[in-house]
């Protein structure tokens, strides 16, 4: 009875390649999404507004200011304003933090007394506040170092231990490195689900599905006949965003390129069969699109490890997250691309994804109704 499956497969392939316009949309849309998300989602901190009050006005204080503002991290919006106007500054959002160098900064340094440089931060966004604290702390420590060596008095008071972090896998801590693999999961998840759900619902709309339903074709043949052709299309999509994302955003694949592709194939199947499942329950293409988006984009963004770590979520969301295929694929693809994971490292997640594939295909075959309502 594979003749039936082949007939549906062949027909679907002809339709896909006969319409170059929709083929181009299917191939270009993921790339557009990649660039859109790739540039829009960027958690790297840049150009944070800062006000600087230098009461010291010495070469030492100017050196500190120069170092703090050297990188692109800060953008100085005000200088030497009265300390009483800090509140207004924050309210008007002209600055998010104020650096106050006391008048005795230079003399303090020379005397070996810890000069109290003050940093006032608007912490209404706690994340940004955290970034500012650690950044300024780092600069201040470096700034203090040469001075400290000049004054042996300071060296006499060493701390008991020091922590010097070493950052693995993403030494520059660029967020794009973290996001691009996640974007592949996000975009592929949506595209695959939309592809099959629309392909099946379209036939309901044009009435050709009715003609298939009176034939002896079985649900599993109809579902597989729809999923298989789109596996090819979705795979090309995946390859495109993988290669373009990797080159354009400079995120090299550390592990095996072949392994990434193999995992992508398993992930694509989950999305395609999810789309097939949706199609068994909806009547219009618009409805199919909405639902595909609701079950892929939202959970992928919020609940898989795309942005937020799952361990900090409420228990219920953690459970939902465990049911989202993207959660596993994101772990897999980040592992291979960033850490160079091998097949044995990703086997547990790959196994879960494969199980999801089988479950979703089985569910869509079961819920496919051969009768009209």
């Amino acid at each position: 009875m594979n003749r039936v499956l082949m007939a549906i497969f062949r027909k679907e392939m002809i339709q896909i390649f006969r319409d170059p316009q929709s083929l181009i949309i299917v191939l270009v849309m993921p790339l557009l999404m990649l660039f859109l998300y790739g540039y829009a989602i960027n958690l790297d901190m840049k150009r944070i507004d800062i006000a600087i009050i230098d009461e010291s006005r010495t070469p030492e204080s100017r050196s500190l200011v120069a170092h703090v503002t050297a990188a692109d991290f800060f953008h100085v919006t005000a200088r030497d304003i009265p300390t009483t106007s800090i509140g207004e500054l924050f309210n008007a959002r002209t600055a998010r933090c104020v650096l106050i160098i006391p008048g005795d900064y230079a003399s303090g340094l020379a005397a070996g007394v810890d000069p109290q440089v003050q940093l006032v931060i608007d912490a209404s966004d706690p994340n940004v506040a955290g970034f500012i604290t650690s950044y300024v702390g780092e600069v201040a420590a470096k700034e203090g170092a040469p001075t400290a060596s000049a004054s042996p008095a300071l060296e006499a008071a060493p701390s008991l231990f020091s922590v010097s972090p070493r950052i693995f896998y993403n030494p520059e801590m660029r967020s794009t490195v973290f996001y691009v693999p996640g974007l592949i999961a996000l975009i592929l998840g949506l595209i695959t689900t939309v592809l099959t759900s629309i392909a099946i619902v379209r036939e309901r709309e044009t009435g050709t599905m009715e003609q298939i339903l009176v034939s002896p074709a079985r649900p599993r043949q109809i579902i597989m006949g729809k999923i298989l052709p789109y596996t090819l299309i979705a795979f090309i999509d995946g390859l495109l965003i993988l290669v373009v994302g990797s080159l354009w955003f400079n995120v090299p694949v550390k592990g095996s390129f072949l392994l990434v592709n193999l995992m992508m194939l398993i992930y694509i199947l989950a999305g395609l069969s999810l789309g097939a499942l949706i199609s068994t329950r909806v009547k219009s293409q618009a409805d199919a699109f909405m639902r595909a988006q609701a079950v892929t984009n939202l959970p992928t963004m919020m609940l898989s490890v795309f942005v937020f770590p799952v361990s900090s979520m409420p228990r219920m969301f953690q459970l939902v997250s465990a049911a989202v295929p993207a959660t596993y694929f994101m772990q897999i693809i980040r592992g291979i691309i960033l850490k160079g994971n091998t097949i044995s490292d990703v086997l547990p997640q790959a196994g879960i994804l494969l199980g999801m594939d089988i479950l979703l295909v089985a569910l869509s075959v079961r819920s496919f109704r051969v009768r009209l309502e």
Binding site: V4, R10, I14, R18, S215, V370, L372
Partner: protein
């Protein structure tokens, strides 16, 4: 196996509070051209869909080609052809590709499909247009191609749901010639229509009104009984409830 192509008792279908088909009973012998007449909404399409296994009856039972319409609808599917009102063709496929697809989903071998396509294209008058996209055919051609698709697997019974709606008189006439040729070869033709001139071509007609069959008879005898010159007059009298 029973001698009836279609044999149903008290077939009923309810949609919510609306009874589309209300305790309909009839039998169609093999090889007959059986016309199903009625205004829009009289329950013709719903009846056909129940016979093809597309809809489950709310009540009643029956057989198609000797098989139970509720239990054995998978067996029925191999023996029937169905052509819906909207001529379900893939507009972006050529005539040949459409036929190949419909042959394929009935599980025919590639060789058999090739043979049947050659025969079908010839008898439908499509030679030379086999590789034209279905979208570019005029309605009459689409209708013949849809019929060809429904017949590729050589079903014993063919259900045609308003096959000639929206088609010009010349195309309608040539379509009915195809139906006659089918019946000559022993195929049972179950056809719904709202063109009363077409009713004259049927061996027997059933007239439906509000989900019920109100007349089931040979067109000639119906005309005599109602004292009408044409089936059109018979139909109007039946629908208005005269002469009963």
């Amino acid at each position: 196996m029973s001698d009836w192509a279609v044999d149903v008792r008290d077939l009923t279908r309810v949609f919510g509070s609306f009874t589309a088909v209300d305790h309909v009973s009839f039998s169609v012998p093999r090889g007959e051209i059986f016309g199903f007449l009625g205004a829009n909404g009289a329950g013709k399409t719903t009846t056909i869909r129940m016979l093809c296994g597309l809809l489950l009856p709310s009540e009643g039972n029956g057989t198609v080609s000797g098989y139970d319409i509720i239990r054995d609808y998978e067996k029925i599917k191999l023996r029937i052809g169905y052509m819906s009102q909207q001529f379900s063709l893939y507009e972006d496929l050529t005539a040949r590709e459409n036929l190949e697809f419909y042959g394929g989903i009935y599980g025919l071998t590639r060789r058999r499909i090739r043979e049947r396509i050659a025969e079908t294209l010839g008898s439908l008058g499509f030679s030379g247009h086999a590789d034209t996209l279905a979208a570019s055919f005029p309605t009459g051609w689409k209708q013949r191609l849809a019929l060809g698709s429904a017949l590729l697997h050589e079903p014993a019974i063919v259900f045609l749901d308003e096959p000639t709606s929206g088609v010009d008189p010349v195309s309608r006439r040539s379509f009915w010639l195809l139906i006659y040729r089918l019946a000559e070869r022993g195929t049972t033709v179950f056809v719904t229509t709202h063109y009363m001139d077409e009713a004259e071509y049927c061996n027997r007609v059933a007239i439906m009104r509000q989900g019920r069959i109100v007349e089931i008879e040979n067109p000639q005898r119906l005309k005599e009984r109602y004292g009408a010159a044409t089936m059109q007059d018979v139909f109007l009298k039946v629908v208005r409830g005269e002469g009963q």
